[in-house]
Symmetry: C2
Subunit: 137 residues, 2 copies
Amino acid sequence: MQLSNSSQYAIRILAYMTDKKDSPLINATELAETLFIPYKFLTKIMTDLVKVDLVESIRGREGGFKLKKKSSDIMVGDILDVFNDSIKDEQCVLGIGFCNGLCKCALHDQWMEPKLLLQKMFRESSLEDIAGRGCKI
Amino acid sequence: MQLSNSSQYAIRILAYMTDKKDSPLINATELAETLFIPYKFLTKIMTDLVKVDLVESIRGREGGFKLKKKSSDIMVGDILDVFNDSIKDEQCVLGIGFCNGLCKCALHDQWMEPKLLLQKMFRESSLEDIAGRGCKI
DNA sequence: TGTTAATTCTACCTTTAAGTAGTAATTAAA
DNA sequence: TTTAATTACTACTTAAAGGTAGAATTAACA
Ligand code: SF4
Ligand code: SF4
């Protein structure tokens, strides 16, 4: 019951980039060192984020990364989608699948409530919302 | 954001055993075949459940398994604990850990709500509650 | 135009979860 | 007392996540 490392890293990376959106470009070394993420793993994640157009990359000397959209337009859910970590409507806590609308266990309705809250939280929280505030996340 | 296979299997196994609590003993072959769980993996899980005293095992010919407590006294949370799959109080969705009570991100308060609901659901739902009802889970 | 600092690509290594195989131990029935 | 049916144990294999290494590519700048 937790997000994957990749998702967690990606959220922290993008939140950090939101904080520093004044600086035109941020490079991988800075991100890795500041956020304590293994450099090589970080670059892999960055490449993923570039591919889905959340981040823009400038290669070569003086290159680096920057957000491709306004931070208020990037939702946490968008990030989770990249790493297949978001909560699907049909997804069950118990992960079973032998059941349907007519035939459901007693946890079904109880699960709906936290599930909807989580989906809403991921869908409606933007980077702008979670970034900065003087705290290092 | 999902329970491990072991937890999911264990829940289904114990729910099935609750349904059949009239029959004195249920053996591994029946469980594996009925619930479509790989036999060898199932026996490993059963051994875990026996070790934590949720299930009692009778070895030898005509042996099998039975619940060691009343099904209304076995909570889903007890099962998740066995496989380290329950939600700790301090556990964060983002899994970060650079933050504390004074310094928290905007998701923090939103996460509290579904977290408490999930914890409550796992803590207060017994096998009795989720089992049977004519459905095969 | 060559050097250098940066991202990107390809391939590999490590760790953990998931699943399998074979055998020993146990016990009731034949 | 043998045999068959059962769980328990030890060790291995496979698949997926997490992480690493090194070379290729790109572009500023001297
Ligand atoms: S009925 Fe129960 S097992 Fe089925 S999807 Fe709903 S919560 Fe999951
Ligand atoms: S402040 Fe944010 S990152 Fe920290 S524990 Fe709370 S939800 Fe997680």
